[in-house]
Amino acid sequence: MNWQGWLLWGFVATLALTTMLSGSQALGFTRINIPYFLGTAFTPDRRRAKLYGFFLHMANGWLFAVVYAFIFESWGHANWWLGGLLGAAQAAFVLIVGMPLMPSFHPHMATEQHGPTASRDLEPPGFMALNYGVQTPVSIFIAHILFGIILGAFYHVHL
């Protein structure tokens, strides 16, 4: 296990993923704001939620990078396209399984069955997070593929 590669490139890949998703939101491709999305599980304060969510997302990224590292080690090699494939697989899992499950995990997220009580909660993402904009799946796919490519390409690079 290349711990140094995981630590460094896991961090870089997560930063790239977060930047990519934030950029997608800023450019109007999607409404999803991942730090806010995660952080509101802990606080209703929007500013703090974004901060908490940012750190949580970074920790998540590092955690997932460990899984990537284990897979690369079990395969015996790593390259950009294998990383990209893993990223695509992770994105598919996040969108198809993770997003519809979010209302079950997130304490302040409404479900598709919410009502009539006024929610005061986050709207649910729905299948493939399409409720946040039709281009949301595309943004998430590209960001995760980028995450995988960075990890795959640089995992064995020693500085």
């Binding site: 009502g115 929610s119 005061r120 409720n131």
Partner: protein, 635 residues
Amino acid sequence: MASLIYAPDDPLNAPMPAKCAKIQDYGIIGDCRSAALVSREGSIDWLCWPKFDSPAIFCAILDRGCGGYWRIAPTNAEGVIRKYVPDTNVLQTTFRCGSGTVILTDLMPVSSEEFKRTTRLPDHEIVRQIECSNGEAEIEMEFVPRAFYGLESVAIRDLGKLGIRMKVGKGVYWLRTNATLNLNEASVHSHFHIRAGEVFQFSFSYTEEAPALLNPLGDFVHDGIERSIAFWREWTSRATYEGPYREAVVRSVLALKLLTFAPSGAIIAAPTTSLPELIGGSLNWDYRYCWLRDASLTIRALLGLGYWDEASDFMEWMLHTTWLTQPELQTLYTLYGRRALAERELKHLSGFKNSSPVRIGNLARDQLQLDIYGEVIDAAAQYVFHGGTLDAGMQKALLGFGKYVVKNWSLPDEGIWEPRSGRSKHTHSRLLCWTAMDRLLNLRDHGWNLSEAASFSDTRKQIQEEIHSLAWNSSLQSYTSVLGGDQLDACLLLFAWYGFEKSDSPRMQSTYARLRDQLDAGNGLLYRYRKDHSEGAFALCSFWEVEFLALGGGTQQAAESLFDHLLSFQNDLGLYAEEIDPVNGNALGNFPQAFTHVGVISAALSIADRAKGAETLPHRQEKASSHSAVQGAKA
């Protein structure tokens, strides 16, 4: 099992209606995710599941032959009377037969989120319970599902004691009852005898997640009805309004609540598509979307009645769900803030009383309506003045709208009424652009840091000057619908409401007199902008007239007198459509209509304010933050 009959006060002497006679013959039931229309003869003729904008499984209201329906009624009914169980959205239709009286209870069961977390309940359900209060009767049930707006018949399978199962698309419907059913290829029928004290129950549910929940009937359904009644009564009890016309106001807010999509906070204009604005006409539109032009009055209605959570949800929806198009705003959005469907016609449906075409989607999505910026900003300002807070993202969004207005306010647009004949320089759009600037400057006075204040102030002044000079027709002695025009528009009544010009000013008094003349539809009603009889009188405009009078344009008595008159046009359940046929008083257009019910509430609030001697337009003053009603609701 205890009786659930809430005996009506009135005698059962109303005659049985002919099938699908009038739009006002319908009542609405719902669960804040979808809604169904139930006719006076016990037929559910409109239902879209799982959401308001999903394809209909029952749409007989738009085509008796092709659209599906679900009817439960006595075979020999001689009279019918309907009412909601007081302070609820649980509908009861009482049929008088020669041999007895039966009561049909219709609802989509609702309960608190806490209860839902502890009990397994169907994702979507309609419960229908028929019981005999005296004598006996023969009951007929016809269940005719037709998927995708009547395009497809539904394969029905009898699974014995489990019930009737219907697989459609990615979902499955279940029909369960304690009555004996007979299946045909694409429909289910039942004919049974009911005696005093007997109860038959029907549960129709839908899910897209297998396995579906098949809850028992009997006490479980009975408890569900009682729980729903308790839920709605608790919700209604939170209304802090104690002024005149309370019954109409409460019914209006209950209807408005049914048009709310709880998972996102959106409020749709109406739950139906293509109910005609003129019988036999082609002004038939899909209203199952959220229009921003309703924002300001909607927030006023919700805050004025103390429904703080609903107002907050709607604010969140407006400022966050529209993110993808900001700083530009679209005229209308879907429940989750997406672009509306492209408009298309369902040619297989003949339409309500042959009023075709039937349309889904809405072309107005591509229009430019500059008034909506002022609507959203004014709604936000009211929210803040009542004590609400807007986070940095919301403030940034509002400032973005403000800058957009500075840049674009002088453009011609389609305007509030969405004509498809092109763009003009609408006075109302300018009024709302002025409102946008004015409210942002008000918010600065309220403590906002507004670096753009100078440009907002300049723009406000320019718009004001333009309206005063170019929207005023000196030969008519009236403001006009478009700059330099000679036609009037009921929107002009809102000058006072938005604080642009007092309603007792000479210009407004003169405009009102001219408007009453030009737009008079007869029967005390108003057309919205023209008098060519291509549509009915616009119900909301008459409630604007009440507001105009209540805000000083007339006497308190005149405002109350008009309000009383307008109440005569609500149906027997207290519901309004978009328009009213001025000749016979029939409802026209999509039904029930959120905008009209918002108008009812807002007009009643203004009448109540004036009766109390409150300051004019207290909802837009900073001191509104100490408004006891809202503070009570927040607490």
